[in-house]
Amino acid sequence: MASCLVASKRPLLALPFFLSSPCESVVLDLRRNQSSYRRTTQRLRVKPDASFGSSLIHTQEDHIIHNPPSSAPSVYLTPSKFLPSNDVRKNLRTAPANSNNSEELPPVVRAPSEKKYHLTPSDIREIRRLRATDPMTWSRLKLAKRFECSPMFISLVCETSPQKKEIQKRVLEAVQSRWGSKRRMAREDRQLRREAWGRDQ
């Protein structure tokens, strides 16, 4: 009984190393331990990564292997565009080998809306009048939709009436007073996190 126990501990057969990689992890525990120098060095011989450009001719003369680290770039490495012209590093940095042209650039977060500059001064006066006369109906969003511009531009153009601000403030306080302590703390944490963005923490 004891003998077979021992037998099963030792791997059944010494599988050659060149098994295809998928099933290697399966037999990992069955592989013979590297008891000889030859087996150890054999296992340490690792093929260079594809990105090294491992064509044979390269290995003779000196060449630089550009292997960017898989981590976020440090802010202390000034981008080439920001380097002043008299800086020696500007021309040292050749364009990266596979300079991805425009279509290979990663997708845009939000398509840049080109600015139309179509509003005339009379439109501006119109916006201010509408805003002043009936602030409740003419919110920024409505005006922006009406004049096809961004709400941000509307806020640049005119201010809401103080009453509306007062009303909105009271509405906000009413909403916040309904918050429990947990929700209030969650909101405060969110505010703290946003401030942490600014300090890049």
């Binding site: 802010v75 000034t78 981008p79 300079s99 845009v108 977060v109 963005w197 890049d200």
Partner: protein
């Protein structure tokens, strides 16, 4: 020739100099004490007319232990007996030309001994000017595009009072419970605050700034260069001599440990400059101040980075910055990660990762702006390196618009 001229000048600073006659007469009668070898009174900046003040009659009064109790600070000859002082002198590798008496003097804060010939006020003033000068030139030359508020913060980090206090503690300087003539000169002597006094800095009024009393007026950043001190804090206006006594009374009421430590460290810097010359002072600055670790990128605090970046690219007429998603994962999960890169044309300016697109975009803009601000030219030379003999011809430091003014 230059070295000779410098010796003469610092020699004149070294000699005792009565700042205001009235106070000195009042000092003379109550404690006839011959002051230490070096007692510079004039701060380095303004070289006042140095009057040959009648040397205090230096009767070598043998200071027995009993008579020391009456002195506000230990007599000059006590410095030679103190082992603690000699150990401190050796611990800081101070040049041998700096005598122990001056080190003992730089340990005495004006609140402990108001007599200008025996406290470290003048040394601290000189040392403070040197420290701020060397620190600011190092910062501006190595990071030419730093925004002004960050320069103020970096100056505060390198030579601010908190850092100097930390350094004094790291040098192993302890402070006395109460100043007196019998204490060991190796201790830092200052009058402690009464327990319970409020130490946090109250808003300083009466500064030189015009319309200082208008609360609503905006204090612009550039005005802080002119009116505020090196760290951007409002500074008290000059006190005319008439209420000098009142200021004396105020200081005798006590100072914080931090302020005393800071005055000691600047006094050491000042005394090295006076005794061992400028190269030694500069080497001391590099050895002890520049060798400290500061991550400048932690000093930034952006509020609207995207807008600043857009202004920057417009000013430098690069293509408008466009935010692109470099990679993302878990968009529908509860912990998504978006990596957004900001591209100006083909070049990537900065990259940021965040739990939301908004955060990633924000951080990418911050990274891009830091990429711009933290530009560090190679082999930087500071202007003060020209003061040494045989310095290479001056090559102008990189200067450009730098900060984005929105």
């Amino acid at each position: 020739m230059k070295r000779l001229q410098l010796q003469r000048w610092s020699g004149s600073v070294l000699s005792a100099q009565a700042r205001t006659g009235g106070r000195l007469q009042q000092r003379l009668y109550y404690a006839i004490r011959h002051q230490s070898t070096a007692s510079p009174a004039a701060p380095a900046g303004n070289d006042q007319l140095v009057k040959k003040q009648p040397q205090a009659p230096s009767i070598s009064s043998p200071h027995s232990q009993k008579s020391r109790y009456r002195l506000p600070s230990p007599p000059v000859e006590a410095a030679r007996e103190s082992a603690k002082l000699a150990a401190l002198h050796a611990r800081l590798y101070l040049p041998s030309r700096l005598p122990l008496e001056t080190l003992a003097r730089s340990l005495v804060h004006p609140s402990a001994d108001p007599n200008p010939n025996f406290n470290n006020e003048s040394l601290a003033t000189l040392g403070h000017d040197l420290l701020t000068y060397y620190a600011s030139e190092h910062l501006i030359c190595s990071y030419p595009r730093l925004p002004l508020t960050v320069i103020f913060a970096a100056m505060y980090a390198y030579v601010g009072p908190k850092t100097l206090a930390a350094m004094a503690r790291e040098w192993g300087v302890e402070s006395v419970a109460a100043p007196g003539g019998e204490v060991d000169p190796g201790y830092l002597q200052f009058q402690r605050l009464a327990p319970g006094t409020d130490v946090n800095p109250e808003t300083i009024t009466g500064t030189e700034r015009p319309h200082d009393d208008e609360p609503t007026w905006r204090k612009s950043v550039t005005s802080r260069v002119v009116y505020d001190n090196e760290y951007g804090d409002p500074v008290k206006g000059p006190v005319d001599p008439s209420e000098l006594a009142e200021r004396d009374a105020q200081t005798s009421q006590g100072v914080t440990v931090e302020e005393a430590n800071a005055s000691f460290v600047s006094a050491v810097m000042g005394s090295i400059y006076l005794h061992a010359g400028r190269p030694a002072a500069k080497r001391f600055f590099e050895q002890h101040f520049l060798s400290r670790h500061l991550n400048i990128s932690d000093l930034f605090n952006f509020s609207q980075p995207a807008r600043d970046l857009a202004r920057l690219c417009a000013r430098e007429n690069f293509e408008a910055p466009v935010a692109r998603i470099v990679s993302e994962t878990g968009r529908k999960s509860r912990s998504p990660v978006f990596v957004v890169g900001i591209y100006s044309g083909q070049d990537k300016l900065g990259e940021g990762a965040g739990a939301s697109l908004l955060e990633a975009h924000f951080r990418a803009a911050v990274a891009a702006l830091k990429g711009w601000y933290l530009y560090n030219p190679l082999d930087v030379r500071v202007p003060s390196s020209m003061e040494e003999e045989g310095a290479a011809p001056w090559k102008p430091v990189h200067v450009d618009l730098g900060e984005v003014i929105v």
